[in-house]
């Protein structure tokens, strides 16, 4: 695990305070507060239905929270209230400064256009209008995520699950985001492909100095990628702390249960 950046004089990138997501009278997550620093990877773990994805969707401004505030530090250094920004500014953030990696690559990719167009789309969306440069960037990124360059004109519908997931990552990182949201990035992949993908994500996060929030139910993924962990249950955060501390010395009964439920091979 790479060392945490020096936090003393660096201001946080994301400040979340009392965040609650509700679907009518049902609660997605309740009263979640935390801070995320530049270069830090935060893991959110918990069982299905514990509110992980609700929290992630609210953090990435894709659903509006019922209560609480999210502040995000923009590139110019100002700390902005996310839902105080205009919808245009929020969507701009989502296309440029943030990346969202979906569990199912079909949700994050355009399956009817080529891999190159998938990577180039975000560049075009922020104003790139030079075909040669867009293609150059796409080739470069395919290389970085270990997809053969001669697949650039193939459609991702013909790719394997692992390749689709790597393409999705390239598509998100091409605009050099500062914060990436990942929802179960290794879900549905077999273990050896998972391992390669985790290696790749870990390398990219370290090389690019990305901050990331990773939702997973897989504690091994959390152990490998996350600096810090939040454990959720029933919509609430029951425990949080450094990854090794939470996993090696769990305090909350639910975390203890979670850690002890891992099958030992």
């Amino acid at each position: 695990m790479s060392a945490l950046p020096m936090l003393d004089d660096v201001p946080p990138l994301l400040v979340v305070d009392g965040l609650t997501v509700a679907y009518g009278t049902r609660v997605g997550c309740r009263d979640v507060s935390f801070e995320l620093w530049p270069g830090e990877v935060l893991g959110i773990v918990g069982e299905s239905g514990s509110g992980k994805t609700s929290l992630l969707n609210a953090l990435s401004a894709r659903i509006e929270p019922a209560a609480g505030r999210i502040h995000y530090r923009l590139r110019d250094g100002t700390l902005a209230d996310l839902f105080g920004l205009s919808e245009a500014a929020r969507r701009q953030l989502l296309r440029t400064d943030w990346g969202v990696v979906h569990q199912n690559p079909r949700d994050g990719l355009r399956l009817t256009v080529s891999a190159g167009a998938n990577v180039g789309e975000r560049l075009m969306a922020i104003g790139a209008r030079h075909y040669g440069e867009i293609r150059g960037a796409a080739l470069d990124w395919l290389g970085k995520v270990e997809i053969d360059r001669d697949r650039i004109d193939d459609r991702p519908s013909g790719f394997s699950g692992g390749m689709q997931q790597r393409l999705q990552i390239a598509r998100n990182l091409v605009t050099k985001p500062r914060l990436v949201f990942m929802d179960e990035p290794t879900g549905g992949l077999d273990v050896s492909v998972q391992a390669r993908l985790l290696d790749l994500i870990r390398g990219l996060v370290a090389d690019l100095g990305l901050s990331a929030i990773i939702v997973t139910h897989d504690l091994a993924v959390a152990r490998l990628l996350a600096h810090r962990l939040m454990v959720m249950r029933g919509g609430e955060v029951v425990e949080s702390g450094l990854t090794d501390q939470v996993l090696d010395d769990p305090q909350h009964p639910y975390t203890q249960l979670l850690v002890s439920s891992i099958l030992q091979v």
Partner: protein, 278 residues
């Protein structure tokens, strides 16, 4: 002039409907390129045959107007004749095949080669008005994209064209930006006609009957075709000249003349071709 059918209101539609469509047209002219929803009516012809265009024409036509209708550039095709006769019988207006004489020109596939004048109105029959539809199936989302001018992803289509064909292979219904603001589908005209949309002295109205949308390009409005810096917009060109009138500057149709490979190229705009040979 043909005699008018008894029992029908002038130009078929009732006055309330015409007023509603005129309001939509006024709004469309005020916001160039913006798709204005309207209460499209059932018309006595099938969807896809020009129900949108015919409703726009019906609500703007007056007794003094002279109507020209073209289909694929030709005045003598079935649909063009039917629509022309429809208005001759329900409005009793004069019709013409001559571009210079017409005050209203209803069309689907072409803009006449003869330059349009101030005071003329082009009415386009539009099948699918939403340029972002292929990219995004949700109407709520495409409206937001229009509202926020999020058009960057439109270029994905051109990227695909160049990646697979080496050039932008979109040849008709080529998307444009109107007045530096709204992305618009110019109906299935060839991209050859796109430059004629730009700064045209004529008012251009677009009606989509099935999709219930009207939009407009007012006279002298900037219309720019999308492209890449290193693959600029260009129009079709031919190695041949028109076999009838010898034009080298008009849009040509290829016509097969026998089953032994014989073919000829002729102007798609029949009135233009005729005016050059007469």
């Amino acid at each position: 002039m043909t005699e008018m059918l008894a029992g029908y209101n002038f130009a078929y539609l009732d006055e309330q409907t015409k007023r509603m469509i005129r309001r939509a047209i006024l709004k469309a002219v005020a916001i160039p390129g913006y798709q204005v929803p309207f209460g499209s009516r059932e018309m006595p012809l099938p969807y896809g045959w020009g129900t949108g265009g015919i409703q726009v024409t019906a609500s703007i036509i007056g007794r003094a107007d002279v109507l020209k209708v073209i289909d694929q550039g030709a005045d003598d095709t079935t649909n063009a004749i039917s629509i022309r006769r429809f208005f001759a019988r329900t409005a009793g207006v004069a019709t013409t095949e001559r571009t210079v004489e017409a005050t209203i020109i209803q069309t689907r596939h072409r803009i006449p080669e003869t330059p349009l004048k101030a005071g003329q109105i082009m009415v386009y029959q539009v099948p699918i008005p939403e340029p972002l539809r292929w990219l995004e199936p949700r109407e709520t989302e495409t409206r937001t994209m229009h509202a926020l001018s999020e058009y960057g992803a439109m270029h994905v289509r051109f990227y695909e064209d160049i990646a697979h064909h080496g050039r932008i292979a979109t040849t008709y219904d080529y998307p444009v930006i109107v007045n530096d603001r709204y992305l618009m589908r110019p109906s299935p005209i060839p991209k050859f006609d796109n430059p004629k949309l730009d700064m045209s002295p004529a008012l251009q109205l677009f009606g989509a009957g099935r999709e219930k949308r009207i939009y407009a390009v007012p006279p002298f409005t900037k219309v720019k075709s999308l492209d890449f810096h290193d693959h600029p917009f260009s129009v079709e060109s031919w190695d041949e000249a028109c076999s009838l009138c010898g034009s080298t500057t008009s849009f040509l149709d290829e016509v097969l003349t026998d089953d032994r490979g014989g073919r000829m190229f002729v102007c798609s705009d029949t009135d233009y071709c005729r005016s050059r040979t007469a």
